[in-house]
Symmetry: C2
Subunit: 346 residues, 2 copies
Amino acid sequence: MVTLADVARHAGVSASTVSYVLSGKRSISEETRRRVERSVAELGYHPNAGARALAAKRSHIVALVVPLRADVYVPIMMQIAISVTVTARQHGYDVLLITNDEGPEGVRRVALSGLADGVILMDVGLADERIPVLRELRTQAALIGLPDDPSGLSCVDHDFAAAGASCADHLADLGHREVAFIGYGSGVYQRHAGYAERTLMGFRERAEERGLRFVHRPCEGTYESTAGTLARILADRPDTTGFVVQNEGAIGPLLSLLRISGRTVPEDASVIALCPELLAEQYAPALTAVTGPAQELGRVAVEQLLRRITAAGRDEVPDDELTLLRPVLTVRESTSQHRSRTPSSS
Amino acid sequence: MVTLADVARHAGVSASTVSYVLSGKRSISEETRRRVERSVAELGYHPNAGARALAAKRSHIVALVVPLRADVYVPIMMQIAISVTVTARQHGYDVLLITNDEGPEGVRRVALSGLADGVILMDVGLADERIPVLRELRTQAALIGLPDDPSGLSCVDHDFAAAGASCADHLADLGHREVAFIGYGSGVYQRHAGYAERTLMGFRERAEERGLRFVHRPCEGTYESTAGTLARILADRPDTTGFVVQNEGAIGPLLSLLRISGRTVPEDASVIALCPELLAEQYAPALTAVTGPAQELGRVAVEQLLRRITAAGRDEVPDDELTLLRPVLTVRESTSQHRSRTPSSS
DNA sequence: TTGTAAGCGTTATCAC
DNA sequence: GTGATAACGCTTACAA
């Protein structure tokens, strides 16, 4: 193993000089710097992580706490995890993966052991049980998701209200008058998941402003539940021509069921999905969709966290930040200008 | 921050005694052990990770190198990453996430810095460029995937040949005589991806043994390519009644296209997918599928790696291991006994 | 069964 | 601009 001392000897300087060359924390003559850098390269020196963490009281590791729940869309989680890792690396940090089955104890463990300098929490619930631990330990953190009380915390999330609003706008722009919002299963609303409620609220408000008549129906996302949901919508409001789907599981079934009911998309019914691009593009017809920038979520979270860590290292009080990322509505093949289904009812 | 010394003072023993109580590396009187454990709990002591790593020359961290390529099925990767993390925790290890955009240098970095005690490589290619680094640094590793030369390495993978063979068996058992294997895009075969070739080989051999007439057709997985692939199959072999699909992207299109061509699944055509359960169950009809146990992959890799780390810690030469995990064929609604499509041709 | 003490490889505070 | 040197908190011979 190559140590700092080896490099120092090889370069003919003291250990502290090598350390300072590497950290850039004091000015070094061009001459020395070059000698040291050459020795580092020649010996293939990599600083020992443990020793560095011990001496500097900073591990240069951030912990990423990922949920295990099955009802989150996994590819997005992965995308976030990867953008977190890549961004962290760009700042000289590594990422430790913590699964939520450790619960709040996991946060306590990595913080108290000095394993991580800070924590990124994914899939944060409104009253997340990990948050009290953060407050108690004064651990630096960035949350992906918006808790009910974000004071003292840095958070980043999609602007779900804006997402809902774009859906209403797009359908209104196309001339639709009767629209349906197919949401998540009722359980999701019962536990007051922020994203579900905020999307619905954004949609509802904009729909009202634009004079849309609409219904909201929860849906579990299975074929059967989607069938039931659609049947009820069409029974209550046979003239519905616009559909917004938030539950990814319901998208495929919805398209099949509309076809079966004799409605062609987009001629007879326009469908907007709230989902990732990948998903939207894999259907036939490709779906007009509102998509939040998942990668950004990870990148912003890392940057928020590192700012906090830096501030705390200088004994400053870190600023709280709240970033809501605007989703993008991409028009594809599943929405079109409203036309009455039956000439008689127009 | 609570240190070992704090605990020692609180319990009225020496620091080493506390250390030994925690590590179990020497026998401790029941009395002392209890006093120490009580102090640990009372003070909320968590050993400092950096100090521990420095003194013990063991970080209790394993690095998991995940691919960034888009053509791997993401939920499975996530499942593996999670089972790796959970299993590692059960053995007192944490997991560091490394993305493959660091390339082989990432492996070098974590190994040489002592950040990780070993490495788990996901999505290992036949001539993976990270492998030479492992050999050069004598880094302990476990590979998920099978390289062309696994000597000196521990590997775990699905038994793809067995998966292919089960498909052939199931179709033969049901009395089918003409079957088609819809594979990955030709690019996948051109780079000799092991999993694609091994599956096909397993299928081919068993199909021949069972006297099946079959064709293999590559398919890119888009709707268009699937349409083209199916059209060619039906043109060449109109009496084909059994289909095996390996490319996940082709499954949805295939089902639609069979329907359009007037074939009902499973009455007129049996379909077996090589895919995760989740995917198989989300189609209508639910698909008979051959699924490899993804979680096992992660668990076995961790156990292989930890055995190697332990052995190397005792200056033993770690044993190489090669584990192939048997996939499971689950019969669902997409396969049934063969019946001739047209009574005349029976 | 327990205690003492010498590292482990950095960083950072002094001093020059 | 550079060099000693004392931490940092833990593990592990070595003693007792």
